[in-house]
Amino acid sequence: MEIRALKIEALTVFYGKRCALQDISLEIQRGQVMALIGPNGAGKSTLIRAASGVLPIQSGKIRTNGDEFTSLAPMQRARCLAVVPQAVALPPAFTAWETVLMGRTPYLNFLGQTSDADEAIVRHALNRADALDFADRRVGELSGGEQQRVLLARALAQATPILLLDEPTAHLDMQYQVALMHTICQLAHEDHLAVMIAMHDLNLAARYADSVALLVQGRLEAVGNPNEVLTPERISSAYHLPVQVVQHPFQKAPLILPGE
């Protein structure tokens, strides 16, 4: 059963009486990076939560290659799809190593016994996420950026074909933002992962993503390659701010500048 893509079909999610997501349809192929952008409250985190099976769905389907995702048991889902959440309120007492080891859960027995192979995978994941240096330190002692890398490593240790990231660049310094996006792109293209990243930095999205999905107030306004989606009209109306879009001077990507 080879998973080739994550397909979200006509997804509708309600929070109580309020409609949080309406009729969202997306597809992310393996080897692709899709950036999920939109103002705060648009539903980016909600989409990630729903797609990972944590939120109940009103209507619509999530498929991984024909199989309906929500019909799978949590363990099976965790082998298909991993989430890198925001680094908030992490249990401070576990070390980075122990935290990443949790990512192996879908492949362990209920007692959580790990083998040498698991440990090797964890080491590899920490390395990829550039977090091996502080593997033995407690998560509570790490900075926001370091914690984010630990969470990325954990998702990598989960060894899934699909990876969802929720605002991973939010707390990072510039250099780490770029490094992270670079790593993610490498993972997608080299390891052949289907990646969806919720992010708020439009220029990073433009630079690194293969496709962009614009979410405004629970609706999918546009989806396609960055040039198509990141137009001044769309961005201005979505963010209630006049913007200009120019061609990046030395990269093949649009550059969004706020202001007239």
Binding site: G53, M75, P91, P92, T105
Partner: protein, 341 residues
């Protein structure tokens, strides 16, 4: 000796030492030489010299069943306290958070207000009533806290607080308006192994084995739950089912322990913290260690309770708090483990 096994060896050693002390110390003074003689004769099945028969009886029929009962009670409290703290991600959680104690107290006092016949079932009325009321309270708290398909942690706590307050108030009212059962009710509520016989041990053993057994199998699950329901589910844990099973198992063990021993506080709250400070926050280790330490600490408290003011016997709940609090503060100060939680 691998470093992995060290905590278990130490905890086990402390437990064994506590058991031995508990058999050796009591309100009747038995000289160490006599103790040794008695133990030797037990092991070699030789008859005892006449003078030592009463002492031997005291050790085998009073101190031994009591020690075992106290051990089991402490183990139940230590284990379920750990589980509750992990489940609720709250360092203030203890086994009585969602109403086991207040429910059991109400059940016991209700049963005490009726004159049961002095018979097999009549003598069981109070513990059975306490047990049933405890589990019923947990059930009601759970049902009240449900929101659709989930049981949010905050709801559980709030629902538990509400039910506990209600049950406690009812219990107080019953005590005040009782016809002289005040002494008996307060004695029960303050805790203590007054009905410690082998039959009592047998009565609670199955519940403890099941309850603690289930908890021990869920150490990894508890680790995952520390990351929150979302992340735990995303990592592959069936969160709702796991939380329900953990709640039930912990409540089962606590209810059984409480129904014969009354409400003994502090152990369920503090033992897991001490274990965390000493041995770390991995629940796969924390659970068995807290179970052992809970038994050991309660035995030590019980020894103090029956020997510090002899021939009086203090309710063990008072000793656990009076002696336990300073001990815990000392451990906290000495610990270099910042962010141990």
């Amino acid at each position: 000796m691998s470093k992995r096994f060290l905590p278990y060896v130490i905890n086990l050693g402390l437990l064994v030492a506590a058991v031995i002390l508990s058999l050796a110390i009591g309100s009747v003074f038995i000289a160490p030489a006599d103790l040794w003689e008695i133990l030797r004769n037990w092991l070699t099945h030789r008859p005892l010299p006449a003078g030592l028969e009463t002492y031997s009886f005291i050790i085998s029929d009073i101190r031994l069943p009591r020690t075992v009962l106290v051990l089991l009670t402490g183990a139940a409290l230590g284990g379920s306290g750990t589980a509750y703290q992990g489940l609720f991600r709250n360092p203030l959680a203890d086994p009585y958070l969602i109403g086991v104690a207040s429910g059991a107290g109400l059940g016991a006092v209700l049963a005490m207000s009726i004159r049961w016949p002095y018979s097999f079932w009549g003598l069981l009325a109070v513990p059975m009533s306490a047990f049933a009321a405890a589990m019923l309270t947990v059930l009601l708290v759970y049902i009240m806290a449900r929101v659709g398909q989930t049981v949010p942690t905050t709801n559980l706590i709030l629902s538990g607080v509400a039910f506990s307050a209600f049950a406690t108030a009812l219990t107080s009212y019953l005590i005040i308006s009782s016809q002289g059962e005040v002494r008996r009710a307060l004695g029960w509520l303050m805790g203590g192994a007054s009905q410690s016989s082998w039959q009592t041990v047998l009565a609670i053993l199955p519940y403890l084995v099941i309850g603690l057994g289930v908890l021990l199998m869920n150490g990894h699950a508890l680790n995952l739950l520390q990351f929150g329901d979302d992340q735990a589910q995303q990592l592959g844990l069936p969160v709702m089912r796991t939380k329900t099973v953990l709640l039930l198992a912990a409540s089962l063990a606590t209810a059984a322990a409480v129904s014969f021993s009354g409400i003994i506080g502090f152990i369920g709250l503090i033992v897991p913290h001490v274990m965390r400070l000493w041995w770390g926050a991995d629940y796969r280790r924390l659970l068995p260690l807290s179970i052992m330490a809970g038994g050991g600490f309660l035995i030590l408290a019980d020894i103090l309770a029956r020997s510090v003011m002899r021939p009086q016997e203090l309710p063990v709940g008072i000793v656990t708090a009076l002696a336990g609090a300073p001990f815990f503060l000392w451990v906290l100060r000495k610990s270099k483990n910042q962010g141990y939680w």
